[in-house]
């Protein structure tokens, strides 16, 4: 586990812009923040404020237009493909659209990231069964994503992020598609991950998560307005 005093993730003057036809869209402008190890960070702000973009940059899923992201003190842009893959294995990302592979069953979706890490099939199935049981999906182990409801798919995505025992869990609106009871279950799971000493970064509108947060950053029009 990381040293609680040291920042596990750090964003320095991050900017990200996209081309949409002839126009350039600035999704993030000069964002700097520090995420200490073991913290529970909330990223809030209205839709289109840049929360998802910031989360993707922190999760090493995208490259910034300018600025740097440091994971465990090392600039992500300095990593090779292999180095970046190793970083991503230490990060668990829960996408807003779940990002499940349609042809794979729930348990396979949860444990596919463990295959390159050399985890045996039987062990992988055990990990998936344990996580999906805790998320109330034991009877859906072999279901394909199309056979699952939105909430169930969300829970499979959560289970996948937790399966590799990531040091940092980054979640994009993890409770947005869930009913009250399931959302509470996911919040409790994230709280448990945090209690376990791991870092949690959540982009959300959900006020129920505020109570768990050790720090909160608010974004508006791609800029950090409070934090």
């Amino acid at each position: 586990m990381s040293d609680p005093a040291a920042p596990v993730l750090e964003a320095r003057n991050l900017s990200k812009s996209y081309r949409r036809g002839a126009t350039e869209v600035r999704a993030l402008t000069d964002v700097s923040l520090t995420i200490p190890a073991g913290s529970f960070i909330l990223l809030t702000g209205p839709s289109g404020s840049g929360k998802t973009t910031l989360l993707a940059l922190l999760a090493a899923l995208d490259r910034p237009s300018s600025g740097t992201v440091l994971f465990a003190g090392r600039d992500l842009s300095a990593h090779s493909d292999v180095g970046l893959a190793r970083v991503r294995r230490r990060l668990g990302f829960i996408a807003q659209d779940f990002a499940l592979i349609p042809g794979l069953s729930a348990w396979e979706n949860v444990t596919y990231p463990l295959i390159p890490r050399g985890v045996r099939r039987a062990e992988r199935r055990g990990v998936a069964a344990e996580l999906l049981t805790r998320l109330g999906l034991l009877d859906r182990l072999n279901a394909r994503p199309r056979e699952l409801s939105g909430g169930e798919q969300q829970r499979v995505a959560v289970a996948r992020a937790l399966a590799g025992r990531a040091e940092v869990v980054l979640a994009d609106e993890p409770t947005s598609n869930l009913d009250e009871a399931t959302a509470r279950g996911v919040i409790e799971l994230l709280a448990e991950v945090h209690r376990d000493g791991r870092t949690v970064v959540v982009a959300t509108h959900d006020p129920r998560l505020t109570a768990l947060a050790t720090a909160k950053y608010e974004l508006a029009a791609g800029r950090l307005v409070t934090g």
Binding site: L100, I101, G103, P116, G118
Partner: protein
Amino acid sequence: MRTLLEIARTGVAAALLHPARSLVTVAAVLAVLLPYLVGLGISTGVRNAANAAVSHGADLYVSGEQLGRPVPIPRTVATEIASIPGVERVVPRIVGRIELGKERVSAVVVGVPVEQFPAGVECIEGRLYASGPRNELVVGTDLARKLNLKVGSYLPPFYHSRQGERVSEVVGIFRSDVSPWQARLIVTSFETAAHIFDQPGLATDLLVYCRPGYEGEVRQAILRTTADRQPRLRVVAREDAAALIPEGLRQREGVFTLLFTVAFAVAILVVLVTSGFGLAERRREVGILKATGWQTDELLLRSLVESLLLAVMAWAAAVVLAVVWLKAFNGYWIAGVFLAGVDREPGFRVPFRLTPVPVLLAGLVAVVVVAAGSLYSTWRSATAPPREAMR
């Protein structure tokens, strides 16, 4: 190692994850491999059949040559050659192409003395032709069927000769489904052939049969005794004739290889397109795996295994279908592509032999075609930022 095997297993699963794409890819590769295997199978079969025919033929073939072109030679040369020590017998022969009927069906007329009627040709109906210029013909079953000829049928004059034109009579029918050489064959007397081609006293070539061990000496003697003769004589030994067969076939194979190279290039493009069949989904899948910690080389290994599986499936299907096409369907349609003048439904047993080299080469081609297509698209997706690929 275990990890690599686990990743390889996901490649096998990937082929089943996208059944439509897998089917289209296999079909595209099959469309290239099948004609390739069939073509080379026929080519090898024809070469073997030609070699067998030559090995049962004469020891020496004597023909005329003037200004580098083949010309007929006087029949009297046969008598001169027959007197050379070591010569057992000399058979004068006339060979020429004609066209028959309204549909201008091409046929090859061979005029040989009746006592030299080809041993491998089996007359199943009627009788052999009589000696002399009687215009009696023995035709193959395939030609007879095509032109609706029976024993006793008369053919109106189909040639122009300075000695007048005559009606020809079909006196016998032989089995022509034995080899490709007999499919369009008409055998007649030497004199009738000379009349048909308006070349009295001339022969296209002479078949010289020698006593064992005398071939070289006889060849030298023929060239020596006829050195000042016009046209100049060309003597081809059986071995030389056999050596000429691959040359002719290689020309055909060369054209075939050229066509196949074009098809190969097209196939890579087709597989690139089929790799794009469900590309968005596939690209997203690669993005998701990258986002969850897969490396580019691991994704390429997964894609390679998937490609190998699809290539092996296409290859196996191509080999099985090639054998079925040529054995069970006797090269229906495809034989006509590789053998000049052969109908859609060949009237003879199409010679066919699949040797290990082209079969293995086809496997290699399948792997290259599929891997080139799918590895490229995987690499492109894997080297993009995962968020971009997941969109």
